[in-house]
Structures are given as C-alpha cells and as structure tokens.
Amino acid sequence: MIVADSKPFQEIEQMLSEYKKVYIVGCGSCVTICHTGGEKQVAELASKIRLAAKLKGKAIEVIEDSILRQCEWEFIEEAKDVVADCDAVLSLACGIGVQYMAERFPNARVFPGLNTTFMGAPTEQGVFWERCAGCGNCIIGSTGGLCPVSRCAKSLLNGPCGGSQNGNCEISNETPCVWNQIYDQLDTQQLLSTMENITPPKDWRTGAENHPRKMVLEHLVMKKE
C-alpha cells in the first residue's frame, strides 16, 4: 500500500488561508489504512481547521467527505457538485488522488493534505515501514525475499557494508540492516553460498530514474469512439 503522512498543520492552514468554504475529502483505500486520510482523519482535521479559524476570529465552512478511491475517474465524478460549490479542495489522498482531483476539476483549487511517503505496510498497529521502491526490476528472488533497494539505506545490491552493527544499519540503531536480515534468511534456508554471487550493476532505467513511467496492456485497451 501507499503510505502517506499528514502535512504539518501550519502548511495546511497557509494553503487554505484565503478560502471560506473548503471541501475536505479523504480516500477510502491506502491512506485510510495508514490512518492519515480516511473518514476519521477527515473529521479530525475538519474540526481542527474550524477551531483554528475560530481562534483567529475567522469564519470557515468545511464539507467533510471521503471517496472510495480518488485515483479513479468514475469514483471522483460523484464529487462534481460539491467541488463546484466550494472555494477549495483539500484532498487527503496520496499524490495520485490529489492529481486526479485536480485533473478532473480544472477550475478548482486542489491542495494536498498529505505528504505521500512510501510504499510499505503496517508491521504492527500504528507502525509502517517502507518495503518497495518500485524499481521496475525486482530482484528479491535472490535476496531471501527482502528488498535491499528499498530497505538498505544505500540500496546496495551486494551487502552488507561495513556500517552494519549488531544487526542494525549505521544510519540509526532503530533501523534494521536489511543485509543482515538477508544473511539470516539465507542461512535459515541453507542458501548462504549464494551470498558469494556478485550481483552486477543494476539497470536503473526501469525505475524512478525514468519518469514518467507508463504501462499499456494492449489486450485490455478499448477502442475509442
């Protein structure tokens, strides 16, 4: 899933400072699961915005809502009338959702309420870790199912580096060294010898170096009228 964090409130306040009627819209998928962009967060943020306005003696009207997935034209279509009726849209979706809203409603002022951070998962209630960098060329088949691209601070393909200490990465003793974990995993599977295979330099062109990426599934594309 996509993980996103709440934007600092001051930034949000600033973005919305000139607007009187704001549509705050959550997204019912990834960001709901990571507790930053769901119905509940919308209600909390709305209340906070109104309270802040009240303290400053300003008036603001906030419309609260959530859409199943803001990254689908069909779903956001429903917001048409509310968007037209408001001065601004604060989208609590990941960057994709925010852009979809902006693209679909070109006349609306659309703002992001979240900072989209990474692709990851909850390792326990309330704790999320990055797990994938979307490099476009997955190698975890040979690294015990653990991704060094996203989980190693240096994205090393032949680790660990000399900074690995007591199982943790040199950048912080709260960050596990993934290469240490890979070693342990391969040990468990009795595949340690594969550690000695040198992985050649990776072709990074499939990854984030090659924006914007696109995928077309010819067999699914329908003819336009």
Binding site: T32, G38, E39, E44, S47, K48
Partner: protein, 694 residues
C-alpha cells in the same frame, strides 16, 4: 456522497437477541433496562420495564427469572440480578407512564379473575381502547400473588401499587363477584360483553390419597397459605411438618415458622439437588432454621384420638425412572417416623370449575384445566378465551402475564378481523454462549448480594426479608451486564478490510470470516467501543440506540440557550463505571461551570469529540477516567491516555493553553476527588481566559 459512506440503516447486521430477553415469557427488555440502570437512567429504565410488564413490583420480587438462568454472564462468574434490578426500579421510580387511553372501540370485554393473567389482559386491552371489567371473587386483586405468596416475599403494597396503575387506565375491577354465583357466562354475554377471558387460576389444593389424611391437624398447603394471607394467622400446633419439595412447600414452611411453633420441618421425595425450587429459596429456608428431610416419601400419617402424631416415611430409591418420568420407588422395610402435630400437604393445586355448570360446550382437559388454543387462547366456545394457570395447570407469574398479553392481542384481532402481532415474540437467533477462550479476558465482577432482614427480625414478623438494592448496588450490578447482542457491528459497505479492529480489540472479537473481505464482530463483543473509534473508515457502530458515545448529548448541551452565558464553560467527559453513587458531591462553582457527560467507558469517545466541544463553545474540556486497575474493560486506560496526548498535541499546534484540556484518572466520579479537580480546572480556565483577554 455515498461511495464508501452508505447509510448505516441499509446494513443488515445479524440481529441476534440477548438470551435474557428470549428466555422471558413476556420478552421483557431485560438487557436494555439493565443497561439504562448502568447509565444512571433510572426513570427511562422503569418506563421500559412497565411498557411490557404490568406487575413489575411483583416480578422484581418473585419471578422465577428464567432470564438469569440464561444470562451469558453465567459463563464468566454469575448472572446479572435482572429481577432484583427490576424491583429496584419499581421501588424507587414507579410512575404512570400512560395517559388514560381514549375509547377506540365500542366493545366491552369481561375478564374473570384479577390474577396476573387477568390483569395483564385488561391492561393491554384497555391500552388498545377497549372497556374492560374484571370480575373477581376476592375483595382484593392479585390472585395467587395475594392468596398464595407470603408477604415476607411479596408485600401487598407492591401488588396494590401496580394494580392502581392498571385501574388508572380505566379498567374496572368488580370485587366480591364470583362467576357461577353472582354472574354467569351467559349473563355476561347478554349484558353485551363481546368477549370473555377466563383467568381464574387454580384455587383448590390437590388431594392426596394417604392413610391418615382425615386426622385433625392435616392441612392443605394452599388453604393454609390463603388463611394466613387473609386472616394474618392460622391454627397450627407446635411441631409442624410440611410435605413437598417445591416452592410452595418452602412458602408453607417459612410461613408456619413465623407463627412461632417450636419446630418446623420439610420432608420431600427429592434429593437436595432434585428439588423443584431454587437453591436460593432452599438456602433461606435452612438459614431460618427449618429442618429438611430429603429423599423420604410418606407411607402414612400416624394419629391418636383423631389427632395427627407424625408421619411414617420410606426412604426413596429414585424419584424419576429411566424415562425421566416422575415415578418414585422406595426401599422396602425402610420405615421411619417423623413426629409432628400438624402436617401441611404442599403437593399442588387444582382447579375449581363449578362455574361451568350448564356450559358443557367448554372443553376441559383430564387434569381439570380449560383447553385453549396455544396461540389465540380461544376456547371451544366462540367469544370465550382462557389463560393463566387455569390453562397452564400451574405456571409462573410471568407465564401467566404472557398468556394475558397474548390473549389481549388475539381478542382484538378476532373482534377487528386484524392480524396484529407483537414483534417481540418473533423467533430470533440468540447470541451464542461466550467462547471459552474469551472467558478469561472478561473481568470477573462479583454479583451484588441482596441486603436481607436479620434472622431475629424475620422470625418475629411477616416483614419483607429482601430489603432491596440501593442506587449504588443497583448501578454496580447493572454495570456487570455485557450488553449482549447490542454491541458493535461492521457496516460491510464501508469496511475496507484494514484489520485495525482485529488488532485493537482487547477481547479478540472482530475477525475476518473465511472467504470474507470485511470484518465481522460477533456476539462476544463487550461494547468497549475501542474499535469504533479506531476504525479509520468509520465502519463500525453500536447496535444499541442507548449508546451515543457522547456526541448526541454534546449537541443537546450546546442547543441549550443558557449555555451561551456560562463563562467559563467546561465540558467534562467522565467514565460512568466510576460513577456508582446516586449523590454526586458538588459545589456551586462546579454546578455552574462544569457540564458533565457520562459514558460507559471513555474508550468509546472519538478524540474529535473533544475538539468539537471546544469548537462549539467550551472553554475547557475535562476528561475524568478510571484508574488503570479500575478499568471495567481492563484495556482502556492506555487508549484514553494516548488519545488525550494526541488531542493535546493538536491544541498545542493551534497555540492553545494546555490547561484548557486536562485528563485525570480518578477512582470515583462522584466524590471529592472529582470535585477538587473540577474546581481547580474552573480556576485554571478562568485565568487562561483573562490572560487571553489582556
């Protein structure tokens, strides 16, 4: 928009009924009135009880409470004292809840007998708009409750109080009027009664064929009780032996004891465990000093000079045969003697149907009961209905109430050609027994004892033995209830399967059932509300309408005009599990400035509600929760603390003074611990306001 916020009302969550409700013959709303008491809403609880129950004061005392037998709290420790809680309500909150209904219909209905069945039928028919007259041969109402049940279990004012409310609906009771003597069925029909409901009970004692039964000093149980209950005393000797092992036998023995003989004993066929009465009743009987002979059967009554001298007994081999039928067998040659100068036979009641002379059409069973259709209560004669003991052949108070209520609807349906139904009696699935693995997760909480009259005081009078619950005991007891079947449910149209609920529930209730992609919350939910607050999609709510998690009450508070002039205004959210006492300590300052919203477990409250309070005009929010070891759910403390810190951070971001949002963990919400905190908070907020002004 509806996409993932479709209306809750569209969901069909499984409507499992609490077993306490299903077990009750009248389907009393046991769970909900207990839950109302737990929330301190006593008047509302009384009204809810009275809506279905015309004799709450009697039921609260002598009901055999099948609800408690089925209570799911049996799995964790002991059932909720559902009946005693009802008594608590009727002792303290009895009130007229209906205005006198208008006369909707021209038909008059005659009811024979002012016992529970007759009273229930009259009440419900009157409410529907019929004019009802009860013909009663006694000079007082209540039937067996008055003539049979001893006053130390059921004081007569408890009957009178409830009957008065029935009469206020316009029900007329004609006392000293016996069917078959003063009026006849045909006569009533001629007088224009469109339907007749016969609820005459079983007023005669059953006969026993036993050698020596003719001796002086052999009494029949029902006759004996009736005599004591109407005359206040009866002629008995010094050494009393009651034969029988049921509730009536215990009543006879304990009544006899209060007439101060030298000795009272009870002899019965059954072993202690087999006796057809409650353990509680047996314990009380023994506690009062009555001797119990188990597993002995009467061979013959011994006498001398026409007077009883004792009972010759045989030891019982078994009472029930292999087919579980009542078929006692005795050990030969095991004769023994219990001496007595009075023997009371408490061995059952039978009907007296002498009023049916010239009514050959009315079908009677071999046991002497009137045969009536189990659904409509119609007898074989059109227009004549029957219910209560005379149909059941010895039922219980609530079974008779149920028959009266059902007969009332049936009479209406037949007169109006309607198909009215009382949905409460519909078949519904019950909440299942608690999963064994969950039992240890639920906090054990001791069942409250009934305060009792001391032994000395008991034996010198017919005063009521059970003294009734105080407010505090009642609330404590009610708060043990697990709110079965009314807990949280997931709206599957909204749930996005994030698993948060599964992770946060302290009782491991939410689950993803095989093949399902949305969470499911089963009947073991304890209503702590943690998952409801934490669900990021707001997919979970309570089934119970009693639980607003503070939101509606906060809205109501701000709808009050006077609130605008309250400065400073502090809203206090407090945990009602810490609020037992009826008298909350207060002072003028707190009274004026601190508005309290009680919630059964603050884990149910959304942090955004605290923001809402400030948004809507509160100058401060005070949260007073239970201490960690006092938490009813054992798990809310951490959550309450975390959420308060979270809200605190938000307010800090907004530049608000931290003193306007305070959280305290205290052991009581009603004593000085709370008062001191609240008083101080008012001062704190006042100074914050004056700083902000300057």
């Amino acid at each position: 928009m509806v996409m993932n916020n479709s209306k809750m009302t569209d969901t069909k969550y499984t409507c499992e009924e609490a077993p306490c409700v299903m077990a009750c013959p009248i389907r009393q709303d046991a769970r909900d009135y207990v839950q109302l008491i737990a929330r301190g809403l006593f008047k509302e609880a009384y009204r809810l009880v009275r809506e279905r129950n015309v004799l709450p004061s009697s039921c609260g005392r002598i009901c055999t409470h099948p609800c408690e037998t089925k209570c799911r709290r049996n799995s964790t420790d002991a059932p909720i004292a559902i009946a005693w809680l009802k008594r608590f309500l009727s002792d303290n909150y009895s009130e007229k809840i209906y205005t006198k209904p208008g006369r909707n219909y021209p038909e008059k209905i005659a009811i024979i007998g002012a016992g529970p069945a007759g009273l229930a039928a009259a009440n419900d028919l009157a409410l529907m708009g019929y004019s009802c007259t009860i013909f009663e041969s006694n000079s007082t109402p209540g039937g067996m409750l008055r003539m049979g049940v001893p006053t130390y279990r059921l004081p007569r004012n408890a009957i009178d109080k409830d009957v008065a409310l029935i009469q206020q609906l316009g029900v007329e009771i004609k006392y000293n009027t016996t069917l078959g003597k003063d009026v006849t069925l045909d006569g009533l029909k001629k007088e224009g009664y469109a339907a007749i409901f016969i609820s005459v009970g079983l007023f005669d004692s059953r006969n026993l064929t036993l050698e020596g039964i003719q001796y002086d000093g052999v009494l029949k149980g029902i006759d004996f009780l009736r005599e004591v209950n109407s005359a206040g005393t009866a002629k008995i000797g010094k050494n009393i032996l009651v034969i029988g092992g049921g509730a009536v036998a215990m009543d006879c023995a304990r009544t006899a004891l209060r007439l101060k003989p030298e000795k009272v004993s009870v002899a019965c066929l059954e072993a202690r465990k087999e006796m057809p009465t409650t353990d509680f009743e047996i314990e009380e009987t023994l506690h009062e000093g009555i001797k119990l002979y188990n597993s002995v059967g009467p061979k013959r009554i011994l006498g001398k000079g026409g007077m009883v001298t004792g009972l010759e007994t045989l030891r019982v081999k078994y009472v029930f045969d292999e087919q579980k039928r009542f078929n006692p067998a005795f050990y030969e040659g095991s004769e023994s003697i219990i001496e007595a100068d009075t023997i009371i036979l408490a061995i059952g009641q039978t009907s007296n149907l002498s009023f049916l002379k010239n009514q050959e059409g009315l079908q009677i069973s071999r046991g002497g009961t009137i045969i009536a259709d189990p659904n409509t209560f119609a007898t074989s004669v059109p227009g004549i209905y029957a219910g209560g003991d005379i149909v059941l052949g010895r039922g219980t108070l609530t079974e008779c109430l149920a028959q009266g209520k059902k007969a009332a609807i049936s009479i209406h349906n037949s007169l109006r050609n309607e198909k009215r139904k009382d949905e409460k009696w519909a078949d519904k699935p019950e909440v299942q027994k608690m999963a064994d693995s969950r039992v240890p997760l639920v906090k054990k909480e001791q069942k409250q004892d009934m305060p009792m009259l001391s032994l000395g005081e008991r034996l010198n009078s017919f005063d009521e033995v059970e003294l009734g619950f105080s407010h505090e005991i009642a609330v404590r007891e009610a708060q043990r209830c697990m709110n079965c079947g009314a807990g949280a449910f997931v709206d599957e149209n909204i749930c996005i399967g994030c698993i948060t609920c599964v992770r946060v529930c302290p009782f491991d209730v939410p689950e993803f059932r095989k093949g399902e992609t949305t969470a499911y919350i089963g009947g073991d939910c304890q209503s702590c509300g943690l998952c409801i607050v934490e669900c990021p999609a707001k997919a979970i709510s309570f089934k119970t309408p009693l639980e607003d998690r503070g939101r509606e009450r906060l809205k109501t508070l701000f709808a009050e005009k006077s609130i605008k002039n309250t400065k400073p205004l502090i809203v206090n959210f407090y945990c009602q599990y810490g609020s037992l006492s009826g008298n909350t300590k207060s002072n003028a300052v707190v009274e004026k400035h601190v508005k309290r919203i009680g919630i059964l477990g603050l884990g149910k409250v959304d942090p955004s509600l605290y923001l809402n309070a400030l948004e809507w005009g509160a100058d401060g929010v005070l949260i007073t929760a239970c201490k960690e070891d006092g938490c009813h759910f054992c798990a809310e403390y951490d959550w309450i603390k975390k959420r308060s810190e979270y809200v605190g951070k938000i307010l800090k971001e907004l530049g608000m003074d931290s003193r306007i949002f305070q959280t305290h963990f205290i052991s009581s919400q009603t004593d000085t611990a709370f008062l001191d905190i609240a008083t101080q908070m008012v001062k704190d907020v006042e100074s914050v306001i004056s700083v902000n002004k300057s």
